[in-house]
Symmetry: C2
Subunit: 540 residues, 2 copies
């Protein structure tokens, strides 16, 4: 292996109240601390976060019979009701999650259950139905849309079903280029085990170091190499799911016309229909070569035009990303560079992996130059790659400094891209202004399709009081703006609970009825992830 | 335009009791007539087919109120209960359909209704529910799996909903490369209208000259250019559907993580959930160039290995097909050549369209040569292209000569391809032998994926008596063999009524429950295509 995309094992357990490896958390670089007041005005230092031991939880609502029934399936040591396990499973890692985790009183699941096999998952779901316990499937814990909130619905208790003991490469078919991977396998572990056989999955979302194969499937993830390898959806050729009312095993063939592709019913089901236990994926030989090239465009519009031509031409780079003028200015695309150089125009990163790189690069370079691009050498792209999973660490440091930082994403057709971008930016700025806060909005394109592209926004704001309430209002305005401007409510973060109120605007009343019908059929007791994906019905 | 893929308008109305343009039907070539007794033994001439006027139908079960209610929506002249309209909508074009159409007594829908707009389709469905009329959506009438059989379920009558007045290119987005096409538009008409703007959809199934855009979507079609352009599924970016209980409009964005991709619920729904009225598709500039190259391999196994390497390498030809030794021997791959030269080995066809053809061809040639292939020039591939939509005409001529001819298809992973092929061939041969008939089985690969490929079988048999009953037994055995050998029951012909009894074997009990749940929600009265896709429940 020449590059180590997948060679690193998963990082250590995540910091309980922030992102990632606790040893990697650092203070904000001086350059950033200098930049922030320029962008956001004077910033008030927040009160310090509580320590783990200071967090107050309600007593566990699981009774002795509940614990006994679950322990009979997974073993007593794999059912936890202790304080730390409950806090560690209390939600995902959105900025609202991070803010909540700094407070003394917190919601949490009543216990954590860790099955090891598909059969144990099935049995746990049956117990949950029998005893009236809600179940929140839990993979890497990296949701940024509230998909892991410990909501119990109408049930007397709620458990987090931690799937990380369903781990490992289960089967590999060298001839067909397919691998079956247990759903609780974290990204780096899956890549490391495939690498032993010379294969790569090649799915690198920013959550890669923690998120699991099952989570990628359940949330319809899209990774940084999507230009070359496609969304995670496109990699899945089979799936195994445990539902409260029966098992599902789908994907007999690489192509089929036997009714609707029901794999797609579970991709994006976010734990509301069943628990994904195994995923069969397309794999490819580990790329032997990797070539970096950065580009500079006069502005975002010309850069987007370049990316469009590349996406419609096909067979281009493995990674292609374009930062707008605001993001380029502060160097956010390269975490190590932030604030070091105030660059002009719109910068882009391309990475080529695999076969025929020279040919592909020549062709792509022609297209990018025709759109006004200028090659800027290898450096910036290499730096981007080195820091590409480290972005989330920044949010914690910013919160420590009193700066609110959050991201959101959407997608639309190429012809609507500029209008949607303006609509979201205006909505963010106006929202913070209305709350008396200065903000700085940045945007990049990180996923391209022949017919359109994603838009990923990062916003910084100096919120003085009640950041959760302010953000909730701002985000609602942004979601309304996205719907009005014909974007999707989420390109790859999913629905969870945060986006559920906008589901009907996106897929229509009949679309929601279809999801409810499937839910009623597979999970009539409603134990699975209540309130996630599908909003509660009036009267629920 | 240099090639005319899409320039031809749709052919004239289809022959009422056979395939295609009546003026194109011809007698079997002498070479074929010479070959057949060698392959199948002495063949008994069947009794001649009835003429259209001799067909006896039961009286229409539509009452005056039914006709009036439907006419109030679509206009009186677009509701037909006459003999010819009913016969022309009595089914699809499988060989059992062709045999049935030769008989004097035939089932038929009670009438034909021709709406012109989405709103008229919706209104027709509401009338159907109110008055208890089953509705069979009808596009090009090319189903080969019984999807158009006039089954009324528990309703007092059944109408064919002919969608061909919902026709035309509705919108085109040049920047995003997307077009919205009315569902009743036939393949050639869609291509001709796109060609005016310089675009091609590039979907060429054998049914192309008659089948409609909505039919491609409803049946999850795959075309001959699938190596370059993908299955029809992969071209769809949005869909509009009228259901008996509400409209659906899906596809806000080229990529999304807003729950399951519900477009996929309607692709492959075969008219059981709703009537597709508009399809948004990805289009691309009309290819400027086309290059042909034929190949010969020592045997099917080495040819399949070559195709596997090409599919896994990516960016190869637009068309790639491989005939096995039996099909190569009789030259079936080139309709004009059948029986003219008994070739050895396994022949393959490649066609390159679009960009960078020289590069792609060089690379593919290396891979095919490495697998044992030898280039055989342009001729055979050009002949294949010229006759590629004409194959179905042969079945009628063969039936006239007393020879049963039918096709079926499946798909599996590359590692399972050889085993599945043997299982299907044995099952076909053994089945006909048990019925006392000699048979000749041919196979080709016409759709490749990184992880696997399709297998398309053509069988000729000299059945002496009751070919429908013999084929029904043989086909049941083949379906069982496909399931036992881990293939899919259909790669691109769909389920219809013929494959419905095997649906549960393919997608499992829980899979069928999901489909039934969606059906109950969208079509609680069960008026839409009763018995197609989803088998009737016990007690239905």
């Amino acid at each position: 292996m020449t590059h180590g995309n997948g060679s690193a094992a998963a990082d250590s357990e995540m910091r309980w109240n922030g992102w990632g490896d606790p040893t990697k958390a650092k203070d904000l670089p001086l350059a950033v601390r200098t930049l922030l007041p320029l962008l956001l005005g004077r910033i008030r230092k927040p009160h310090p976060a509580v320590r783990l031991g200071e967090v107050q939880l309600a007593p566990s609502a699981l009774d002795g019979g509940d614990v006994e029934a679950l322990a009979a399936i997974v073993g007593a040591k794999h059912v936890s009701t202790d304080h730390e396990a409950r806090v560690r499973h209390s939600g995902g890692r959105s900025t609202p999650d991070l803010l909540r985790l700094r407070e003394p009183r917190q919601p949490a699941p009543d216990g954590v259950v860790r099955p090891r096999t598909h059969e144990e998952v099935s049995a746990c779901l049956r117990v949950a139905v029998d005893r009236g316990i809600a179940v929140i499937p839990f993979g890497g814990g990296t949701s940024v849309v509230g998909a892991l909130d410990p909501e119990r619905g109408s049930h007397h208790a709620v458990v987090s079903l931690d799937l990380r003991r369903l781990a490992g490469l289960l089967r590999i078919d060298d001839i067909s280029g397919e691998a079956v991977i247990a759903a609780g396998t974290a990204g780096p572990d899956a890549e490391a085990q495939l690498a032993v056989h010379g294969y790569e999955l090649g799915h690198y979302p920013q959550s890669f170091r923690y998120a699991t194969i099952g989570g990628f499937a359940a949330a319809r993830s899209s990774g940084q190499n999507s230009a070359g390898n496609g969304r995670f959806d496109a990699m899945v050729t089979g799936i195994r799911v445990a539902t409260p009312t029966g098992d599902v095993e789908l994907g007999r063939s690489p192509g089929s016309a036997v009714g609707p592709d029901l794999i797609r019913v579970f991709l994006g089901s976010e734990g509301a229909f069943g628990v994904i236990t195994e995923v069969r994926v397309r794999v490819h030989p580990i790329p032997r070569e990797r070539v970096f090239e950065s580009w500079t465009f006069p502005d975002f519009a010309s850069g987007a035009e370049g990316l469009r031509r590349v996406a419609q031409d096909g067979g281009g780079p493995t990674v292609i990303r374009l930062s707008d003028e605001s993001e380029t200015a502060v160097g956010l695309a390269q975490v190590g560079r932030i604030g070091k150089a105030l660059a002009k125009g719109a910068s882009a990163v391309t990475v080529y992996e695999g076969e025929r790189i020279a040919e592909r690069r020549t062709r792509v370079s022609e297209l990018l130059r025709a759109a006004g691009g200028r090659s800027a050498g290898e450096g910036a792209s290499e730096e981007w790659l080195a820091g590409r999973f480290d972005g989330p660490y920044l949010r914690d440091s910013l919160l420590d400094a009193g700066v609110f930082c959050e991201t959101l994403e959407t997608a639309t057709t190429w012809s609507n891209l500029a209008a949607l971008k303006v609509a979201v930016e205006s909505s963010l700025r106006d929202g913070f202004t209305a709350a008396g806060a200065r903000s700085y909005v940045m945007c990049h394109v990180s996923h391209v399709y022949p017919t359109g592209a994603s838009l990923y926004f990062t916003v910084l704001a100096g919120i003085r009081t009640d950041p959760l309430a302010v953000w909730s209002r701002v985000k609602a305005g942004v979601n309304d703006a996205i719907i009005a401007s014909e974007g999707t409510i989420s390109h790859h973060h999913a629905v969870g609970r945060d986006h559920a109120p906008w589901l009907e605007s996106e897929i229509g009343t009949t679309g929601v009825r279809i999801l409810r019908a499937i839910k009623r059929e597979l999970d009539p007791a409603g134990v699975l992830n209540p309130g996630a994906l599908i909003p509660a019905e009036r009267g629920d």
